[in-house]
């Protein structure tokens, strides 16, 4: 019985945290912080317990009938635990960071409430056991992130919020159409859309294949808005007006990852990789993802603001996941799935750093970073590690992803993907190395733009610094200990073997 309720508990930790935080008055910040952090720690523990259970082949499933013939399913499988682990660990990191970042800012109850709600939605997305449940949490995510994007309440952030909504609600509507058609035309019994039931789509009659082809892309367009596939990525750079912890969360776990995770789910658990391959949907998606990878990198080159450059970098990096999911063969799959996590920890590090520069020294533009390495060494080291990771320099996490993606592409007979990977790495180098150059090799030019936090024992306040350092350490460790049995890579391999050898 506890098995059935575990997914509920995991979901409830952040959902209840959200509700409690909403009701707490603004001034109760100690209570709020304690509650928030203990919920986050509890969640990590629960996810850990569940992950051990999954590794030992336990089933965690909660289901009940929501509408006639449609079940609401929360189920933990290996893939969902990867995403759940990412979001629970980063929830703790970003919450700590946000506490430091928003010290003495107004509306903190609202902020942390929606922050927790946003994590609850990603939790739901990861644990969703069928397409319908996925859709529920996918939309909930849109709604819970809007208040975070517009949190500052300035004209600029409100405009950004409007753009964000246009894209995400539009994408949500398309996804709804896709899901509704999937249930209405293909899957009245709800078996195909159940992520745990495999192999049933291949048995459909051949005359439905055209429909399935079209539906695949309807679903992908719906998901692609969040996953920022070009040209559906327009909201992402604009949403950068949000506070740094929000950007970190949006880029690392919440929104873009939800889209990418959905793409993985659609390919592996609804269409089945083999059937998708036969249907011929993988190649177009792979090309689309590749275009996004290159386009995102090219656009990143043109940006002059730190966060904007990082945003376009996300556009590019997230498509690696989609690309990996399209590579027919276990190795490519491992690459795509493990990048889900690797990109998360690397990008969250980079955004934390950007936030640290902005909060501590008032730096927003890349040209203002000259010599910041000496003033903020730990932050700058973290940034360097994140940037090298993104480029794919070993032994960092990004290298592991690229390595598996490359070999997977060759195994799948899509050698041209290597070209995309290399081109993207070159472009990554082209937009990250100048930043590193400025950080470490350029002399400081005059006073900092707006230095609010003076260097004390450390370069900035601890709550900003230590989460940054922690995620940087994670991204080194994920690469350095990749072959270890508790690494993300090993977990991704476990997922993949379970997908390929059911």
């Amino acid at each position: 019985m506890t098995n059935a309720l575990m997914p509920i508990y995991v979901l409830a930790t952040s959902l209840i945290a959200a509700l409690v935080i909403f009701t707490l008055p603004e001034r109760f910040h100690k209570v709020r912080t304690t509650f928030n952090l203990s919920a986050a720690v509890l969640k990590i523990v629960l996810v850990g317990v569940m992950a051990v259970g999954i590794a030992n082949q336990l089933d965690y499933e909660f289901r009940y009938e929501l509408l006639p013939g449609i079940d609401f399913i929360l189920r933990a499988d290996a893939l969902s635990m990867l995403f759940a682990a990412l979001s629970s660990v980063l929830w703790l990191c970003t919450t700590l960071y946000a506490i430091g970042y928003l010290e003495d800012a107004p509306n903190r109850s609202r902020f942390f409430g929606f922050f927790s709600l946003c994590v609850a939605s990603t939790m739901g997305i990861s644990l969703a056991g069928n397409l319908f449940t996925f859709l529920i949490f996918f939309e909930l995510l849109t709604l819970s992130t809007y208040p975070l994007v517009v949190h500052r309440g300035t004209e600029k952030s409100l405009t950004a919020g409007r753009t964000y909504l246009r894209y995400t609600l539009g994408g949500g509507a398309i996804l709804l159409i896709g899901v509704a058609l999937m249930y209405g035309l293909v899957d009245q019994t709800g078996t195909i859309t159940d992520f745990a039931q495999t192999g049933s789509m291949a048995e459909l009659p051949a005359e439905q294949h055209v429909l399935l082809f079209v539906l695949f892309f309807v679903l992908i367009i719906g998901l692609g808005v969040k996953a920022a596939l070009v040209p559906l990525h327009g909201w992402l750079p604009i949403a950068m007006v949000a506070p740094a912890p929000v950007s970190a969360l949006l880029h690392a776990v919440a929104v873009v990852k939800a889209g990418a995770f959905g793409i993985v789910r659609v390919i592996y658990d609804i269409y089945e990789i083999e059937f998708a391959w036969q249907l011929g949907v993988l190649l177009p998606l792979a090309i689309w993802a590749s275009i996004t990878i290159i386009w995102g990198s090219l656009m990143a080159l043109r940006q002059h603001e730190v966060k904007k450059r990082l945003a376009y970098s996300t556009v590019s990096q997230v498509s690696y996941i989609a690309l990996g999911a399209c590579l027919f063969g276990p190795i490519g799959t491992i690459g795509g799935i493990v990048h889900l996590l690797h990109q998360g920890i690397m990008k969250v590090t980079l955004f934390f750093c950007a936030g640290n520069y902005a909060e501590t020294l008032g730096i927003h533009k890349i040209s203002e970073l000259d010599g910041a390495g000496r003033r903020m060494p730990l932050t700058s080291i973290a940034f360097t590690l994140g940037a090298f990771g993104m480029i794919g320099v070993p032994p960092l996490a990004g290298f592991i992803s690229k390595w598996y993606l490359g070999i997977g592409a060759l195994d799948a007979g899509m050698g041209w993907v290597i070209g995309v990977l290399i081109a993207s790495s070159m472009l990554n180098a082209a937009y990250f190395l100048p930043i590193l150059y400025r950080l470490w090799f350029k002399p400081v030019q005059g006073p900092w733009p707006d230095e609010h936090i003076l260097a004390g024992r450390f370069e900035t306040i601890g709550l900003l610094l230590w989460p940054t350092v922690a995620t940087a350490v994670f991204s080194v460790a994920a690469g350095l200990f990749a072959a270890h049995m508790f690494s993300p890579l090993s977990w991704a391999s476990l997922i993949t073997y379970r997908e390929y050898l059911p």
Partner: protein, 442 residues
């Protein structure tokens, strides 16, 4: 008990490699000026380790840590240890040079000493490490570490020229890393052969996999060019004459003497060289290109070099020229697989000889700058020894190395090529004359 055994069995090589890295973490900006000794002791453990290894009769020594990266495997390779030893010695000597100049205060007014030391130690880690790395991931890691950390050495002076050279250096390096990554990954995929594991084969499995692959020629070409950037291959050498003159003297010495050999080591480790690789013949195009590029490098660099205005530029071109000769040797060995074992010995000998002598000549530039009067003349004359060595006049290491090669190819149907290789000495001579001409007065 078994844990102890395990530790004894596994620790040595990683400790030797990571020692400089640990030192790098200890460098602090404010006290860096007094930490020059770190550069001296940094390569010592490795030096002692290799010497011990030699003393104990070169046993099979390796360290395996399966859970690190994609499965870490480091070893002392019988073929590469001469290069390892040479590099260690050179780094040690260059470290002495830095320590002395910091102590004597000649470099006292320089800023960024902390950064310089850190970059130095990181580059050192990478350079020595890649010579013992036997798995692809860690080899590539250390290669990248060396490449990126050396940027800090190149631009240390922060002059406009240094920054420009740094830019070209980093662009070429990134390009090289890209070529390398594609070559390595492609080769690794062939070696893995679609199996689920291992995804990262050991580096010595690459040559066979490449030889047996349908795309072997392309993979080999990618790897050849990728490492070629580091090895100063003609056409990819542009960063060398820019970077060596602007870098601080000891840094140029290790760049030209030791790091440039990393490219060669890459070739030796990954390319399908050798007799037992039957299908090597189907990729004749690549070795032919290698020989041609080697020739162009050997002579072209000499032409460019004799018109340069700085001694260090001359030496840089000389390095390109010498590496051109090595490229020719590698290309020839590639074309004639049965002759490879003999040629390999010549290549190693040549590489060691070049590394040490080129290092000395670079140090010479620094010494001559600092000295006056008679002492200067003494040094100038002493510098004739490495110069003559490089030219390969009789009874020198240069002659020994070149003869090893000539003996092999005299038995091969290479025609004019024998003469072309031999007259390479002329190119070297011209460069050496130019070097001494430029150094004739302070």
């Amino acid at each position: 008990m078994s844990l102890l055994m395990y530790l004894v069995h596994t620790t040595p090589i990683p400790l030797l490699v990571l020692f400089p890295l640990l030192l790098a973490l200890c460098v602090r900006a404010d006290t860096a000026r007094r930490r020059g000794w770190m550069l001296i002791i940094a390569p010592l453990p490795m030096l002692l380790g290799v010497l011990f290894w030699y003393c104990y009769g070169q046993p099979e020594t390796f360290t395996e840590v399966p859970w690190l990266m994609l499965g870490l495997h480091w070893r002392f390779d019988t073929v590469l240890t001469p290069i390892l030893l040479m590099s260690t010695v050179l780094w040690f000597a260059a470290g002495l040079y830095v320590w002395y100049s910091l102590r004597s205060g000649t470099g006292a007014d320089e800023p960024h000493i902390g950064r310089y030391l850190r970059c130095w130690l990181l580059t050192l880690t990478g350079n020595l490490g890649l010579l013992v790395a036997a798995d692809i991931a860690s080899f590539y890691t250390l290669f990248a570490l060396m490449t990126f950390a050396a940027y800090g050495l190149v631009i240390h002076d922060q002059t406009k020229r240094a920054l420009f050279a740094g830019k070209i250096y980093i662009i070429m390096a990134v390009l090289g890393e890209g070529l390398l990554f594609s070559g390595l990954i492609w080769g690794a995929a062939q070696a893995a052969g679609g199996a689920l594991t291992p995804v990262a084969p050991l580096i010595h499995e690459l040559p066979l996999a490449i030889a047996n692959s349908d795309y072997g020629m392309y993979i080999a070409l990618l790897l050849f060019l990728g490492f070629g950037v580091k090895a100063g291959l003609a056409g990819l050498h542009w960063w060398l004459p820019l970077a060596h003159p602007v870098a601080p003297t000891p840094a140029s010495a290790v760049l030209s003497g030791a790091m440039i050999k990393a490219g060669l080591v890459g070739w030796l480790l990954t390319l399908p060289l050798g007799g037992d690789l039957e299908s090597a013949a189907n990729m004749e195009l690549v070795p032919t290109i290698a020989v041609l590029l080697g020739l162009i490098g050997a002579y072209g660099a000499a032409v460019l070099g004799v018109f340069s205005k700085k001694a260090k530029t001359v030496l840089a071109y000389s390095s390109v020229s010498q590496m051109g000769m090595i490229t020719m040797m590698v290309g020839t060995g590639w074309l004639y697989p049965h002759a490879w074992p003999a040629i390999l010995a010549a290549v190693i000998a040549f590489a060691v000889h070049h590394g040490l002598n080129k290092g000395l000549l670079f140090f010479g530039v620094g010494w001559l700058k600092a000295l006056h009067g008679r002492a200067r003349w003494v040094v100038l004359v002493l510098l004739l020894i490495p110069a003559l060595n490089l030219i390969g006049v009789p009874f020198t290491s240069g002659e020994y190395a070149k003869d090893l090669f000539k003996d092999v190819i005299s038995g091969l149907p290479v025609g004019l090529f024998y003469a072309l290789f031999t007259y390479g000495a002329l190119a070297t001579t011209a460069l050496m004359i130019r070097y001494f001409y430029l150094q004739r007065r302070p």
